[in-house]
């Protein structure tokens, strides 16, 4: 089962912290991939947070197509970050890894942020469509203040490969996944974390209800609900759908993916609304042994899981730095100095929510509301 390591902090830190945490959970991932999503960027991106950043991988042919497309659509390149690749045995380097900062086309300067988000997503999907068949272009995210890195290999070796130990790449929220490839081919678009318009999540556990959930999302008429090379991508899209499209407060993500029984809703003051949500979003009940770690556009991080998850994840840390991980050994590596008695292992009704800047941890109980 995939291993997950998320850290949220009020200070900038290196993704190597996540990778070293993953290394302690090594028996649980098989080197079939690493995914990193960084939010709240520091270093060279610190002053560029309002500009969208495109993260991806291109072949030589692909980068030309990408450049042409971006120019044609009026995006102006402001800054380029590329990792300093160190050859590592077993990792086949691709031509061009990048995080490119763009300025919006002048035509959309006065548009609302929501409209800009639409443009960014459509641009990402258009580039994916151009380069997916021949694998000349992979674009993982295109959004302000977010960078995504994905590659096949062992996480620690990939950290070395990308030179993340010496690079100044830092952020305040970093999600990392060490893949254990199961029922799908090793493919970069199948690698967590998944990101869409400010919402990100990563998951472990197989998704038994994948097909009906995918069909429901794809029939919402929203172009971003596509891909699904991994069954876990739906968890991110459900988060986006509930929070952004339906405008539900974050806690209702739990009520959507793991709804209460009607008899359990009685103690909730919002039971009337809950009943309607349970009915109308019935196909989005995940009904599987999954644990989800996610963040929202404001930097709030959370962990939630289905009652069938036999081994809960863990959330622990100190004020200003919290780790949300699939294994406790990962937390020990990331935040060793802490009061372990305060570690949180969320149970089936719990949703652990960490406020932006890792200021406060709340355990929200679904039964009590």
């Amino acid at each position: 089962m995939c291993r997950l390591a998320a850290i949220t902090s009020n200070n900038f830190f290196s993704p190597m912290e996540n990778i070293l945490a993953l290394e302690t959970m090594k028996e649980g991932h098989d080197g079939s991939g690493l995914g990193l999503t960084l939010k709240g960027l520091g270093g060279e991106f610190k002053d560029l947070t309002k500009y969208p950043i495109m993260s991806g991988i291109c072949s030589k042919k692909g980068i030309k197509a990408l450049d042409d497309y971006m120019k044609k659509n009026g995006f102006r390149l402001k800054h380029i970050w590329t990792p300093k690749i160190k050859p590592v045995k077993g990792i086949v380097p691709r031509d061009y890894y990048f995080a490119r900062v763009y300025d919006y086309p002048s035509s959309c300067k006065d548009k609302s942020f929501s409209e800009k988000e639409g443009l960014l997503m459509n641009t990402r999907i258009a580039l994916r469509n151009i380069g997916e068949s021949d694998e000349s272009i992979f674009v993982f995210s295109f959004y302000p203040d977010v960078i995504t890195i994905k590659e096949v290999g062992d996480p620690l070796e990939l950290g070395e490969f990308f030179g993340l130990d010496s690079d100044g790449l830092k952020a305040k929220v970093i999600f990392a996944q060490g893949r254990q490839n199961t029922n799908y081919q090793i493919y970069l678009y199948a690698c967590h974390p998944f990101f869409i318009q400010g919402y990100c999540s990563m998951t472990n556990g197989e998704n038994t209800a994948f097909v009906p959930i995918r069909e429901f999302l794809m029939s919402r008429g929203f172009t971003g609900y596509m891909g699904y090379n991994s069954d876990s991508e739906v968890f991110t899209h459900i988060l986006h759908y509930a929070s952004r499209q339906l405008n539900f407060p974050l806690i209702y993500y739990k009520d959507v993916i793991t709804p209460l029984k009607i008899s359990e809703m009685e103690n909730r003051k919002d039971s009337g609304a809950l009943r309607l949500i349970k009915q109308s979003l019935r196909p989005l009940c995940i009904d599987g042994p999954n644990m989800v770690i996610g963040f929202t556009p404001d930097g709030t991080c959370f962990m939630v899981q289905d009652s069938k998850k036999l081994r809960p994840g863990v959330v622990a840390g100190v004020k200003g730095k919290y780790a949300l991980m699939s294994e406790e050994c990962g937390v020990d590596r990331a935040v060793p100095k802490r009061d372990k008695s305060m570690d949180i292992f969320p149970m089936k009704y719990d949703m652990v929510i960490i406020s932006p800047g890792a200021e406060e941890v709340k355990v929200w109980n679904q039964l009590q509301g």
Partner: protein, 555 residues
């Protein structure tokens, strides 16, 4: 032509027993001539008669044959096609010595002759096709293994429930946010349709009249027990023909779906009972078609219209009660169906889901799309060709109709295309449990996209030992001579049926199906929500079938 004088009359004008669908095997050596078999036979296919037999015997050391003539009593099958043996086997049941048994004759020419007086063969039961149905060719092949732990069907908590009623799309929910909490926006004028949480296997429409009093009562008691004692919200449809007034005014009405069909039988009583109802019914089903006999209306033969039935239905006794093939008010689907749904909804203050039932058809999607645009349509029930009936022409039952599997699947996928797969529940019926695999057939239909399934024939067999099968066994439902007492109004016949036993068997059947559904869902890792549309869980060993249904091919 006159027979030649002195010659024995030949029998060439008679049918031979080889033309009959069942040949009665009677054993002289075992029979004690008690006469029970001939008395019980519902069609008088056998009779006691006498024959003269010639015995040749010899005594002494050397052969000295002596012929002797004796008159013996025998049980003989008649060769009158109007009294053909239906193979019900009631004779075998009553025989104390196992001396008699009907045997299916695959070479029969029954349908060549069963049209006397220019009248086509009418019967009850369902399609006489014993082949393996599509539903029984589907298997569950997505088994959770090491990457995803399977559940324990015995110990894990399962919620096998479904929704009946129009469900609002999430984008249209009348919700508002206050203090980071959602609540229903009461200022919104949005209509919130009624939705029931029910068990996904329903008992389909079988009327009082088609069924005998103890049979209908047994089903009703079983359903009430399942709800009140077992906590299983099983619902049952009344069929066309009303309901007992006492039940209409009782608290148990909430477990019943009341059907209105083209004859409107029983609706006078129902409307008059409306002001006295203490509970709303589970739903209202508007019957437009029946899978067993698409295009035909309901039919209750005169011999079944006795006093009780006549009074519930508000008609005179002993007349054929034929419902027209279509509702007389039906002008177009847009107008008439919508009006009917509106009227029924209005009668109960829009508190009761109202949905149409149609027979499986190539045109089902057209109906579906109309309903999808009607915000008051609560569901669509599709009844496939393997559904049963109390009376119909054999040709309608055997040759008309559409199999449920692909019909249901294409309707579901049509809804998926429109993003309405959760808004308009599909109820699938027709051949569920045909070979006894109730839970497996139900689960397969659910994974193809059904929100619920409906059963009729299966529960008659499981709860009341109906003799019928797909070899035209018995199928006398239309005649009022049901040897089991299930589909008759003759007290001499229906006293054979104990309503308490029927109720007990209904409860046992549903409890067993519930366990079996868990045994299917548990290894597939599903326990919280019904796996509606989880088509990746299914496979078949037929490539064309897999392609048509959009499921896996496995061999």
């Amino acid at each position: 032509m006159e027979p030649a004088s002195g010659l024995r009359l030949d029998h060439n004008h008679k049918l031979s027993l080889r033309e009959f669908p069942y040949i009665v095997r009677w054993r002289d050596d075992r029979c004690k001539r008690c006469g029970q078999c001939t008395a019980v036979c519902p069609v008088k296919a056998i009779e006691a008669t006498v024959k003269v037999q010639r015995y040749v015997s010899s005594e002494g050391a050397s052969p000295a044959p002596k012929a002797e003539r004796k008159v013996i009593q025998i049980v003989e099958q008649v060769t009158d096609m109007e009294r053909y043996c239906t193979g019900c086997g009631a004779c075998t049941l009553v025989c104390p010595n196992e001396a008699i048994e009907p045997e299916f004759n695959p070479q029969n020419k029954f349908l060549h002759y069963k049209n006397k007086g220019g009248e086509g063969y009418k019967r009850g039961g369902r399609r006489n096709d014993p082949s393996i149905s599509t539903l029984d060719r589907l298997k569950f092949t997505r088994i959770s293994m090491l990457t995803d732990p399977a559940l324990d069907a015995g110990r894990h908590e399962f919620r096998i429930r479904t929704l009946l009623g129009r469900i609002l799309p999430p984008e249209e929910l009348p919700l508002k946010i206050e203090n980071n909490k959602l609540s229903i926006n009461k200022d919104s004028a949005k209509f919130i349709p009624p939705v029931r949480e029910i068990y996904p296997i329903m008992i389909g429409s079988m009327s009082i009249g088609a069924l005998s009093p103890p049979m209908w009562e047994g089903l009703a008691m079983g359903v009430s027990y399942l709800n009140e004692v077992e906590g299983m919200p099983v619902v049952m449809c009344s069929g066309e023909g009303g309901m007992p007034p006492r039940l209409l005014k009782s608290k148990y009405l909430k477990y019943f779906i009341i059907q209105i069909a083209s004859g409107y039988f029983g609706w006078d009583e129902i409307i008059h009972a409306l002001p006295h109802m203490v509970e709303d019914p589970a739903a209202i089903e508007i019957k437009y078609g029946q899978g067993a006999k698409p295009g035909d209306g309901g039919l209750l033969m005169a011999q079944k219209v006795l006093n009780l039935i006549a009074s519930i239905r508000g008609v005179p006794q002993f007349i054929d009660l034929a419902s027209p093939p279509t509702h007389q008010t039906k002008y177009s689907i847009e107008e008439a169906v919508a009006k009917m749904i509106q009227s029924m909804s209005m009668a109960w203050g829009f508190r009761v889901p109202v949905y149409p039932k149609i027979s499986g058809s190539r045109t089902a999607r057209a109906v579906l799309n109309n309903l999808a645009r009607n915000p008051y349509a609560a569901a669509l029930s599709i009844d496939g060709e393997d559904g049963g009936t109390g009376a119909a022409y054999n040709v309608s039952m055997d040759k008309m109709g559409h199999p449920i599997a692909s019909n249901l699947r294409e309707c579901y996928l049509d809804l998926v295309k429109q993003g309405k797969q959760n808004e308009l529940p599909l109820i699938a019926a027709g051949g569920v449990g045909k070979k006894g695999n109730l839970a497996a057939n139900a689960a397969a239909l659910i994974m193809l996209g059904a929100s619920a399934v409906s059963i009729g024939k299966y529960i008659m067999q499981a709860a009341a030992d109906c003799f019928g099968d797909e070899y035209n066994r018995c199928n006398l439902c239309n005649t009022g001579k049901c040897p089991r007492g299930i589909t008759t109004q003759d007290p001499k016949l229906y006293r054979r049926l104990d309503s308490d036993k029927v109720a007990e068997r209904v409860v046992e059947t549903f409890k067993a199906a519930d366990v079996e559904l868990r045994k299917i869902f548990a290894p597939m890792g599903r326990s919280t929500e019904l796996p509606i549309g989880m088509s990746d869980g299914l496979s078949t060993d037929d490539k064309a079938m897999a392609k048509r249904l959009g499921i896996n091919y496995a061999c």
